[in-house]
């Protein structure tokens, strides 16, 4: 028998399977010290322990049997599960716009193998049509997978490939781009695409899901419908993130790629526009802009692709009593740029000053953002801020720390001249710095307060 016959099993459970001549997918009768069990032997997850054998009982439940309880096993049949995503031809309608869906991995398009629990990506137009037939009412869908990584493993290599693919598609004349992406670092990718792909004539929409699409209550289908609708017929030609507005199945929000952040580890409505309002709302029927200052869709195929990137950039999240060696070690390790997430208006403690001065002298670009997330770095207000600026640290206004990180990498890909770096960093490309923060740009409602409770009760969450 091949190794695959014991998929995932290690000793001691593996020896027990061997001893009794049964394998994965055997329909087996198992005698144990706790009684007799009958079912199909399933592959074992690689991360689970080596002591148990997994059996799928006739009732559909899985159970684990410990190796040393097993007295005997007998194969009475063999039922290998061949799992495939059902696929139907995606209907082509010449009257409908062409949308390109680019896959990077993540849970937007995946199904569970019911027997093993493994996640299988559903991705071809046919597979997507099989699961979300509504897509055919919106567009003619084409798909391309450029990588299959969890979003925490996205980096400059994938960003560059993604940007290049997008630019090529735009030049081929698609009506819009949708990017399936894991949600954890979706805002990093949205930000870097805003810099790498500039002046796009068509919408570039990033989408994911907070609940995998094998679940009946998943947000995946609605997010996919909203994002393809935005890409196919929306008028906003920018890099956007399209995810749930409220946690209810009601509408999605389109966030500008440079102002959006994942704000909750698990809520569906986790993405929020920070220090500003979103670009638009979107539902099945179309896009409703919430503001007027967006870049309009054009009918040319011109786009500016600029994928320069210097990887030697880091974020330092300041904490009280931070020691200067943190900064020193980055400088000594050859970093070219540091984004500090400082306290309040953009502060760090005094012991860091010599290290910051040294960094500047060694040609390392250091910029200041705020760990309060909302608001501006305004370093001239307090003595501390002014002192830090004198050391060569420049404030990045209200750029989000993660956005400053990817932008600094992109800028350093162009120049290492510190004055030029500061100029480019503080000159906004697409909303990463705004001139003003409207009063409704910061709304973290406080639960428990009577008027807030009244509001929440009257509108679905």
């Amino acid at each position: 028998m091949s190794a695959d016959s014991y998929k995932g099993y290690r000793d001691p459970a593996l020896s027990v399977l061997r001893q009794f001549g049964v394998r994965v997918w055997s329909d087996a009768e198992v005698e144990t010290t706790r009684g007799r069990f009958v079912g199909i032997i399933l592959p074992r997850s690689e991360t689970a322990d080596a002591d148990h054998i997994v059996l799928k009982l006739r009732n559909g439940y899985n159970v684990g049997l410990r190796h040393d309880t097993i007295r005997g096993m007998k194969e009475v049949g063999y039922k290998e599960a061949v799992y495939r995503i059902p696929s139907k031809d995606f209907p082509h309608d010449p009257a409908k716009p062409r949308v390109k869906l680019i896959g990077t991995g993540g849970t937007i398009a995946s199904r569970l193998d019911y027997r093993t629990g493994a996640v299988i990506p559903a991705f071809s137009p046919g597979e997507l049509y099989g699961s979300v037939p509504e897509l055919a009412d919106i567009c003619n869908l084409e798909t391309e997978k450029i990588c299959a990584v969890f979003s925490e493993n996205m980096g400059p290599e994938q960003w560059t490939k993604l940007a290049t693919t997008i630019a090529a598609e735009i030049e081929k004349g698609v009506a819009g781009i949708v990017i399936g992406h894991g949600t954890d670092t979706m805002h990093h990718t949205a930000a870097i695409l805003s810099f790498m792909v500039q002046d796009s004539p068509v919408p570039i929409v990033m989408v994911g899901s907070q609940r995998s699409s094998d679940r009946p209550s998943s947000d995946a289908a609605m997010n996919l419908i909203h994002s393809t609708r935005t890409a196919a017929s929306g008028d906003i030609a920018e890099v956007m993130v399209c995810m749930f507005g409220p946690t209810s199945d009601q509408y999605g929000l389109l966030h500008r790629g440079t102002r959006v952040r994942k704000m909750h580890s698990s809520y569906r409505s986790t993405f929020r526009t920070i220090s500003d309002i979103p670009l638009a709302m979107v539902d099945r029927n179309g896009v409703t802009p919430l503001r007027d200052d967006y870049k309009r869709r054009r009918h040319d195929r011109n786009v500016r692709l600029d994928t320069a990137f210097d990887e030697k950039v880091s974020i330092v999240y300041y904490y009280p009593n931070m020691a200067p060696d943190i900064i020193d070690s980055l400088v000594d390790n050859g970093y070219h740029g540091i984004v500090i997430a400082g306290t309040g208006l953009g502060h760090v403690n005094r012991p860091l000053y010599p290290a910051l001065r040294r960094a500047h002298e060694k040609g390392v670009a250091v910029c200041m953002t705020v760990q309060t997330i909302w608001g501006f770095a305004q370093m001239y207000v307090y003595e501390t801020g002014r002192e830090i600026m004198e050391l060569g640290v420049f404030p990045a206004a209200n750029m989000l720390p993660e956005v400053a990180y990817v932008k600094l990498g992109w800028v350093l890909g162009h120049t290492r001249d510190l004055a030029e770096v500061e100029r480019m960093m503080t000159t906004p490309i697409n909303g990463e710095i705004t001139e003003r923060e409207p009063h409704n740009g910061y709304l973290v409602f406080q639960g428990g307060v009577p008027e807030v409770e009244e509001f929440i009760r009257s509108y679905r969450k």
Binding site: Q210, S248, S266, I456, R460
Partner: protein, 649 residues
């Protein structure tokens, strides 16, 4: 032909004759402090809500690329599911915005205990599964559930009933309303731990089904760690007859209702089998029944039949659906006061969401609805001959396509006899269609939680702590001299173990202690008082006072009630003092008797017996001695003072 007979007049042998098979799925909530997969408090109910969430359930594909029948049906309903949530009873886990936390160990312990009582074979590793529910009763669209053991048994009369499995799972939402395309749930109960016990279909009369349910309930209660009260235990009853198919009657809240439901389900299935035979005889094949309809709004728009007239005036439309060669079948009886048209109506109501009743009419029953002329117009429009039946349905135009499909679909299913269904129990002992019975494919692994070991040490530790079996306990109480009925109630009371611990402290009062714990506590609980406030130490102290003569046992009910009402409010002696429950001395008793007799009319003293009764009655009313004297001793004292004299003392 099987003429309907009532439950009472149907002999046991008849059920055997029709091949009745029935099994139970019993859902029993566990008495834990917190919920199963989050740290919300368990058992806190509130109809209040302070926020609302809207969700839709989308069917997911099975591994064969097919949609599960139930899933498809639920999707056809196009329901909007609204959840009412309250910050005290649910957190972000229940409404599916936070992944599960680790399983509640307290619940696992209780479930192991129950599994051992059911003689189940225990698994060595728990795997959490997702069981899909698309009716919206769980916001995730699935229930997290796990199997602890399989293939056990319980004793029932002179035989064993097989137990297929015991699962530990989270409870679902409570439905608030289901009107049109909006179904509303309250989420407080969601996520409460419960065990689901599934028996083999080894019961063959309605009475046996109820009997086995009783045994299972008593076993679960013997642990003292399950919840009691409304909704804490719910039975699903699976029923089939020979030639029929399994139907699951859901959510039976009381065991007493089981026999009639089983009985009526047997008749319903027999009725459906007769319809099947009749269809076969007429040569009607399901594929020959086409989904055809004609709009008859104009033809019956001026009817005097109020339900139709009103609906059409509101802008609804009416359609006539011809069913070829089906004349007479829609009025075929399928139970007491129910005909096959009811089955059609149920589907239209549940799937097409046309839920204002009546929602259908048929050419089989034309009295008291449309006029003869109108029926003729309908028949003509539908192109129906004398052998054909026509169903008329009316409702919002968007729902009528589904309605017509369901009407024909139900008739097609009739060609095959009894469809697998989940049915809802109605108050009159009949049932109505709730959904298509889900298949086995709706189970899949929960990727959010790793498997959990169930080592021998843990199982064996629980085995040493197993409670006495209720029937053994009952026997022991009877042998110890408790009256049979008190022994019975105490043996299944959650306070049985407490009784065992306390009884040696008050050997002379065992009987009264049993009644206090089994009945008085229950009565207080039903009044809504938190009896868990009455802790063991308090009772122990009170019994000590009784033994020492510092308190009468008669004072205990009032003390217990006070404790339940006010919580920690001083020791029993102090509370007794405050409530005036200290034992009455001889002089005080005599004084009270004198006061009582003084208020009585002379006629009360015409003979000794009347005098005694009247005095005792008056003393009771005065309440002065309540809980402060021994009843028998007081009786004797009254007899001594007023008896035999025929006059006032």
């Amino acid at each position: 032909m099987h003429q309907y007979t009532s439950l009472e007049e149907t002999p046991r042998e008849w059920y055997e004759e029709v091949g009745l098979m029935s099994g139970l799925e019993i859902h029993q909530q566990l008495l834990t402090r917190k919920k199963l997969f989050c740290r919300c408090p368990a058992g806190r109910y509130s109809r209040e809500w302070d926020a609302e969430i809207l969700r839709h359930m989308r069917p997911t594909l099975s591994e064969l690329g097919e949609y599960d029948g139930t899933a498809l049906m639920e999707f056809r309903t196009r329901k909007q599911i609204v959840y009412h949530i309250h910050k005290e009873t649910v957190c972000t886990y229940e409404f599916d915005d936070t992944p599960p936390f680790e399983i509640n160990e307290e619940a696992v312990d209780i479930a192991i205990e129950i599994a051992l009582l059911l003689n189940l074979k225990m698994v060595s590793e728990l795997h959490i599964a997702r069981k899909q529910y698309l009716d919206g009763s769980i916001p995730t669209g699935f229930q997290r559930t796990t199997i602890l053991g399989v293939d056990g048994w319980i004793p029932y009369r002179d035989r064993r009933i097989g137990i297929i499995q015991l699962g530990l799972e989270e409870d679902a939402c409570r439905e608030v309303s289901d009107v049109g395309h909006v179904r509303t749930y309250i989420t407080d109960r969601l996520g409460m731990p419960l065990v689901e016990t599934v028996t083999a279909p080894e019961m063959h009369t309605p009475w046996d089904v109820a009997g086995v349910a009783q045994v299972l309930r008593r076993l679960a209660r013997a642990t003292g760690r399950v919840r009691t009260g409304p909704g804490a235990a719910r039975e699903d009853v699976n029923v089939s007859v020979r030639g029929g198919r399994r139907c699951e009657i859901k959510g039976v809240s009381s065991i007493r209702r089981i026999p009639l439901l089983v009985h009526n389900e047997a008749f319903r299935q027999l009725g459906l089998l007769q319809i099947k035979d009749e269809l076969a005889q007429r040569g009607v094949r399901p594929e020959a029944l086409e989904v055809k309809w004609v709009d008859v709004t104009e033809r019956i728009g001026r009817t005097r039949y109020w339900p139709v007239l009103q609906a059409l005036r509101e802008g609804q439309r009416a359609r006539a659906v011809p069913l070829r060669r089906c004349a007479g079948l829609l009025r075929h009886p399928i139970g007491p006061g129910r005909s096959f048209l009811q089955e059609v109506s149920d589907r239209v109501s549940v799937v097409a969401c046309i839920d204002q009743h009546p929602n259908v009419l048929s050419t089989d029953v034309t009295d008291g609805n449309l006029s003869a002329d109108e029926w003729q117009a309908v028949r003509r429009a539908a192109g129906a001959g004398a052998q054909d039946a026509v169903v008329v349905v009316w409702g919002p135009v968007d729902d009528l396509q589904t309605a017509c499909e369901e009407i024909v679909g139900r008739m097609r299913l009739a060609c095959d006899g009894v469809p697998n269904e989940t049915r809802q129990a109605l108050a009159d002992g009949t049932t109505c269609f709730e959904r298509v019975l889900p298949g086995a494919d709706r189970m899949y692994p929960d990727t959010d939680l790793p498997p959990k070991k169930l080592p021998d040490e843990r199982v064996e530790r629980m085995r040493t702590r197993l409670p006495e079996l209720p029937w053994h306990r009952r026997q022991r109480y009877v042998e110890a001299g408790l009256p049979e009925q008190v022994a019975e109630r105490l043996s299944v009371s959650p306070r049985a173990a407490l009784f065992d611990r306390l009884a040696p402290r008050a050997p002379r009062h065992a009987g009264r202690l049993a009644t206090l714990l089994a009945d008085h506590f229950r009565w207080l609980q039903r009044k809504g008082l938190p009896v868990e406030r009455v802790d063991e130490a308090f009772l122990e102290k009170a019994l000590g006072l009784v033994e020492a003569g510092a308190l009468r046992f008669e004072a205990l009910p009032a003390l217990v009630e006070h404790r339940a009402r006010h919580g920690h409010d001083g020791g029993p002696e102090e509370v007794a003092g405050r409530l005036g429950l200290r034992p009455a001395g001889d002089a005080e008793v005599a004084e009270a008797i004198a006061a009582a007799t003084a208020e009585l009319p002379a006629s009360s003293f015409r003979d000794a017996e009347t005098a005694w009764r009247a005095t005792m009655g008056r003393l009771m009313k005065m309440k002065k001695l309540r809980g402060r004297v021994d009843g028998a001793a007081l009786g004797a004292r009254v007899r001594e003072l007023v008896g035999g004299q025929g006059g006032r003392p």
